[in-house]
Every structure is written in C-alpha cells, then in structure tokens.
C-alpha cells in the first residue's frame, strides 16, 4: 500500500471553476521552501511511523504548476534525502499532479517532466466539449492591476515573514476589468497532444455538477476523440442537486452507454461511470470499510500544518473550522487521527444507507461529510448524492445488460472477459 503525502503548495489558481470546493483560494498562502524542507525532514526521519511500502508525493493547489520551481526543488531534495538516508521509499515513489493543464507546455514544467518522467503521474483536467468545459472552468476575474510584478504573490516562510517572488502573470481577460467570463478550454486542449505523447495511458478527471448534466454524453465522447482512453468522472459531493437532475443524469448515461457499446468503444476506452461492481447490497460486517482514505493520507499546507486530507484545510471548508492534526514543529497528534482510523461504513451511515439495495459504489467524501455535518464530527455521512447514485446504478445496469447481450450474440463474451480492463473508481 502506498502512503499519499500531499503538499498544498499554493492556494492560488488561474481558474475560478464554479464547482470548485475550495472556498478559500487566495494568492497569499504559498508554501515556502523552509516549510517544505521541514515537512520532508519530519516525514523521512520517521521511517517506522510512515512504514507503507511506497509513497505518492502529491502536489496540489490551487494549481500546483504555478509553483513549479518550488516543486522542482522539493522533488530534488526528496530524491536526494531518500537516497542519502537509505530510505525504503527510494525507488518506490511517485510524484503526482492534478493540473488544470494551462502551464503544461511551459519550459519549466517540461524540464521538470523530462527530469522526473519515470516517477511521474500527471492528470490534466478537461471536462469535455468546449461548451461543457467552459461552463464551469473559467478564468478567474483579474485582480486590480499590480503595482509591481510580485504584488499579491508572496510566499509564507516558516517565520511568518513574507518575501516577494515573481512567477506568473494572469492572462488578459475578455473585457475591461474582466467582467465577462472566459472559459479555459482552448488554453488546456492545446496541451493535450503533448501530454498524451508523454503519458500515453493518461486519464483525465471530469467533475459533474448540476448544470453539466446535459453535456455528459458529448463530453465523454469528445474526450475519447482527443485520444484520452480513460475518463474518470464523478458527481460532486456537495449539495448542488436539483429536482429532476437524477432523471436527466440517467438519460445522459443511458445514451452514453448506447454510444460506447454500439460503436465498440468499450474495447479500448473506459469510463468510470460504468462498473460491474456497483449497485449491489452491502454486508454490514464484511463490507464495512470506510470509502475514503482521509487519515491514512497526509496533507501539509503553507503554514506547516498537517491535515488528514486536503479537504480538511480551511480553504476547503465552508462552515467548519480546519481539522488540523499537527504541524511540522510539534509533529502529528495521534489522538486527532483516531476518529479517521476507526471510521467504518455503518457507523457513519444512516439506516437507509446500511440497508440500501444498491449501496455498493455509493461514494462519499469525508471532508464534505464533516463540512455538512450537524456537529463537529466525521461520523455523519452526507446523503445528498443518493438520487444521483441510484440514477447511475440504473444506467449502469442498462450498460452491462446491453453489453453482455451484444457480446453473447456475437459470441465474444468469453473473449471480452479475458481482455477487459479494470476501471478504477475515482471519487475525489
């Protein structure tokens, strides 16, 4: 099992995606090298405590590639230190990025990719067709013109004193003062060929919110047409859903199923909406694991605070205080991890979820559960996604019934079973 360790290197992003759960994005909180180094030293010094067989060093924002120079320095230091210490993670690590793709082509990012390619996973988020993508993934409105190139882009060193740095300039907006929304599709799609050339098996991550529903089918097909073979897609966990969304969602997924099956796309493409393993009842004892990995992961922010997952940092939370489990100076408070490490499905679920006939595959986000809970707890599962899950299950059942019948009629079922690829469930 791999340990996932996330550096929240910046809370800034060029975009202001409408479904983004990050409510506290800002240009101020950028990780300093001092904080990053101290965090690394803390973790690598405790090899017995962090004893997972491998590690994923994850970099997140905001947009992580805004901090490519810092990330490059962090990764160099990590490699050097893991080697110097004879750490068991040396040669058993990956650097992982989920990026909006806008800066992907830049020289600094490309140099970093070339240097670390064998240990690198990069996912570019593109939501589908231009109209679907640009519906949500829009450039943020430009701040007032800076008086100097570095205004509003300060790093927070460990001693709390700011220092200036210049890294990027936001693009000009569509109109004076940035009143009109400018989608980011064109700025991302131009980098897709380069990305797929460098990472041929790369997958993209698509997020669905209420306004996106009418564009699901065309968007997945569009992503396939761009050469992306794996589309990991999920509905947001926040309470954004309206009456009738489930019906429209089911319709989109049913039509998408027809397209994938009728055009034989299922042979070498995958869409995480469809899985043979979802929509079944779950045993309250045998299937009692928590869905989410919060607490088994570790996140570090610019001030050096530790979190059980990035979703518990203040910038991710609408209505609850940050759930801090320690910091780089004092270490991790194991007491504050105990709720996460004892979480199971049934304890946090309502009776209707425990007894649900189509429970399997119904996901949750621990951070959203906490944020939406009536009390300060991670043990109250949010169920706002219930109708969407049930709609997905109905469309999923249709998909597999149709696909298997087709394969049987064509005498290809056995061949398919041997060759089918496993589609991973993506939830965050």
């Amino acid at each position: 099992m791999a340990k996932s360790i996330t550096f929240i290197v910046t809370k800034d992003c060029q975009l202001a995606c409408k479904y983004c759960y990050l409510v506290g994005k800002n240009t101020k909180e950028r990780m300093s090298w001092e904080v990053a180094k101290e965090a690394i030293d803390y973790i690598l010094e405790r090899e017995q405590e962090f004893n997972e067989e491998s590690v994923i060093w994850d970099f997140i924002g905001g947009e992580p590639f805004l901090e490519i120079e810092l990330i490059d320095k962090i990764c160099d230091y990590l490699k050097m230190e893991m080697y110097r210490r004879g750490h068991h993670w040396f040669d058993s690590y990956r650097f992982s990025f989920s990026t909006n793709g806008i800066n992907y082509h830049t020289e600094k990012v490309q140099r970093f990719i070339e240097k670390n390619h064998n240990h690198l996973s990069v996912g570019i988020t593109i939501d589908g067709t231009k109209r679907k993508h640009d519906l949500n993934r829009v450039w943020k409105k430009q701040d007032p013109p800076p008086t100097s190139p570095c205004k509003g882009r300060e790093k927070l060193p460990i001693d709390g004193k700011h220092r200036a740095d210049t890294i990027y300039s936001p693009p000009s907006q569509g109109g004076a003062g940035g009143e009109s929304e400018r989608g980011s599709y064109d700025d991302v799609v131009r980098n897709i060929p380069l990305w797929l050339e460098q990472f041929p098996g790369a997958a993209t991550k698509v997020t669905i919110s209420s306004p996106d529903i009418p564009y699901i089918k065309e968007s997945v097909l569009h992503l396939y047409s761009l050469g992306i073979k794996e589309v990991n897609i999920n509905c947001v966990f926040e309470d954004v859903w309206h009456e009738g969304d489930d019906k429209a969602f089911e319709q989109q997924l049913t039509e998408l199923a027809d397209e994938i099956i009728d055009n034989d796309l299922f042979r070498d493409h995958a869409c995480s909406f469809y899985s043979e393993h979802i929509g079944k009842p779950m045993d309250r004892e045998k299937d009692n694991q928590n869905w989410c990995g919060a607490g088994k992961m570790l996140a570090i922010d610019a001030t050096g605070n530790f979190y059980p997952c990035t979703r518990f940092a203040a910038y991710s939370l609408r209505s609850k205080p940050a759930w801090i489990i320690g910091n780089i100076h004092d270490g991790i408070d194991q007491n504050k991890l105990r709720p996460f490490l004892t979480l199971d499905r049934t304890t946090q679920s309502k009776p209707e979820c425990i007894d649900c006939e189509v429970a399997s595959g119904c996901a949750w986000c621990q951070g959203e559960n906490y944020d939406a809970a009536d009390t300060h707890t991670v043990f109250q599962r949010s169920t706002v996604i219930c109708r969407m899950h049930k709609a997905r299950v109905r469309a999923n059942n249709y998909y597999w019934n149709k696909l298997f019948r087709k394969l049987e009629l064509e005498g290809r079922r056995e061949e398919y079973e041997k060759q089918k690829s496993k589609v991973k469930e993506t939830t965050c």
């Binding site: 694991q289 759930w323 194991q334 007491n335 504050k336 105990r338 709720p339 490490l341 004892t342 979480l343 199971d344 304890t347 809970a373 009536d374 009390t375 300060h376 707890t377 991670v378 043990f379 109250q380």
Partner: protein, 311 residues
C-alpha cells in the same frame, strides 16, 4: 434513553467531574427556569440531580427544590443533607457514610494513599476524578499501575476487616458486565443557570454556544446516535466497563465525541487491570463478591490498536 437531568444551580456550583468552574462568578439560575426545569424532568420522567454552589441558596429556591424527589450534590463545607459531597482536597474531613468526590492528580493520589485508605472505611463510596488524564504519557504507566495496586492492597485489608468498599477506580469494574459510562447526552442532560440545556456541565463551562436547546424550545441534540456506545467504534469493543467515556474529553483531544483519546483508554485499562489485581487478591484472601465475574487478563491498554488490527 434519557434518565437523568442535572441542574446546575449556579455558575459556581461544585464541579463533580473533569471540568473546572473556577473562572466563573456567581450566577444563580432564575427561579422560573428552575421551576421549568423541574417540570421538564417530571414530564420526561427524569431523575434530578441538583449541583449546589458554596453558599446558602435563597429560601424560595430550597422550597422549589424540595418539591420534587432528587439527589443533592454539594461542596464540602456547605454539605448539610447532601447525597454526594465534593471534597475540597485531601485535607478535608470526610462525612461518614456519604458518597464523596475528590479531584486529584495522579501524583497527589500516590502521595495520599494512607489518607485514602482511612477514608475507604468511612465513606459509603469514593469517586476519584483524575485531573491530569489529558497529560498522561506512556512513561507514567508503571507508576499509576503501582499506585492503583497499592490502593487495591488497602481495599483488600478493608474487606478482610469486614468493611465493604466502593471506590470508582477499582471496585466498579468488579460488578460490571457491560459499559457503565457517563452517558452525557444519552442518559443524562444538564440544565445550566442560563436556562439552556447542555450535554454535560463541561460543555457549558467551555462554551455556552454548545447548548443543545432550552426550556422553551426543548432539547435539540444533533447526532444523538454518536453519543451512544454502539456508534463508538473503539468503545463498543472494549471491556474497560469502568471507563467514564468522557465525550467532552473526547472532543477536546480527538475532536470527535465518539472517539476516546489514547490517554483516556490507557488510564481506564490500567484501572480495569488493577480491578483484576484486586479481584485476584480478594480471591486469595477467600473473599468472593456476589455478582463479580472474572476479569480476563489483558495486555493491550488501548483498544484502538485492536480495532485497527481488525481493519
């Protein structure tokens, strides 16, 4: 099921548990709130426990209190007629045949073993509230174990002398076959001098915004299931039945009410294991307590590790 209503008569009412009240100035509960609280308890079939301050209450209050069957928890020095007396410290005179509560650090406890032993023959029951559970470290395990076993030796001598002893840290576990915890928010709720309900007095003294309803709108406990044993993943597999399972301390140390801290688990297990030690010693002395079941030997002091091994 809700069974008890604790009514704090004043902000300076004696603390009979882990919380502190020393920061508070006098604020007597409103007479109308007191009457309404009693009415609430009567209609909900709740047993009332009044917690008194260290001064004489006005006569009209005493008259209202006396209108209902109840238990009185009073501070030492103002304890006439008390069912439970909260002692000021180890130098106090203990009232004969009464249930007493004393706050003590582990160090103080270790230093006052002769006093404690003398008390055990005189009080009906003694509840020791450790004031430093939160700062308990694993390096203190051996010394606390030693203290508890020394107390157990004293308890055995009392039994040999024909005196029945009740000491929460050691004798409760002997008779328990299931969890018997504080029950804040589950079996017990508190009415504070501000006329609002709280899960327990500690939540009131910590932050009045943590109220769970008031006398006008009634009780409004969110996520009540998380206050029950069956929704506490660590506690429901544990047999330290003597543990207070303090949800206020849970919130302070682990941030979740249904999850105990390592410290609370270890302290409760040391007391559980000392109860077993006492059980063995009593057995060696040929003393069998009616209803006492054999406490199994156990090395693991934190059931969190057991739960985690299963996962």
């Amino acid at each position: 099921m809700l069974t008890y209503l604790i009514i704090l008569l004043d902000d300076t009412s004696a603390s009979y548990c882990h919380y502190e009240t020393s920061q508070k100035e006098r604020r007597l509960i409103g007479l109308d709130d007191l009457k309404a609280g009693i009415m609430f308890a009567m209609k909900e079939n709740l047993n009332i426990q009044f917690v008194y301050p260290g001064y004489e209450l006005p006569a009209e209050y005493l008259e209202v209190i006396d209108s209902v069957d109840h238990t009185d928890i009073k501070p030492s020095g103002h304890s006439d007629g008390a069912d439970v007396v909260v002692l000021n410290g180890w130098d106090d005179e203990v009232p004969e045949g009464t249930t007493c509560v004393i706050h003590s650090s582990r160090q103080e406890l270790a230093e006052h073993l002769p006093v404690l032993t003398s008390w055990l023959g005189r009080v009906a029951r003694l509840n020791i509230v450790l004031t430093d559970v939160e700062t308990f470290t694993d390096t203190a395990i051996a010394s606390y174990k030693q203290t508890l076993e020394a107390i157990a030796d004293g308890v055995v001598e009392k039994y040999k002398a024909g005196k029945a002893v009740q000491l929460n840290l050691l004798t409760d576990r002997l008779m328990l076959t299931a969890m018997n915890n504080c029950g804040a928010g589950d079996t017990t709720v508190t009415l504070a001098p501000d006329g609002r309900f709280y899960l327990c007095p500690a939540f009131y003294y910590e932050d009045e915004r943590q109220n769970v309803g008031d006398l006008t709108s009634g009780l409004d406990i969110k996520n009540p299931q998380l206050l029950r044993l069956d929704h506490a993943p660590i506690c429901r597999v544990c047999d330290a039945y003597n543990c207070r399972r303090c949800i206020w301390m849970n919130r302070r140390l682990t941030q979740d009410a249904n999850t105990p801290s390592h410290q609370q688990c270890v302290v409760a297990h040391l007391e559980r294991n000392a109860s077993r030690y006492l059980q063995m010693k009593l057995s060696d002395a040929g003393i069998q307590l009616n209803g006492s079941r054999l406490i199994e030997e156990m090395e693991e002091l934190d059931p969190f590790n057991i739960v985690n091994r299963w996962k």
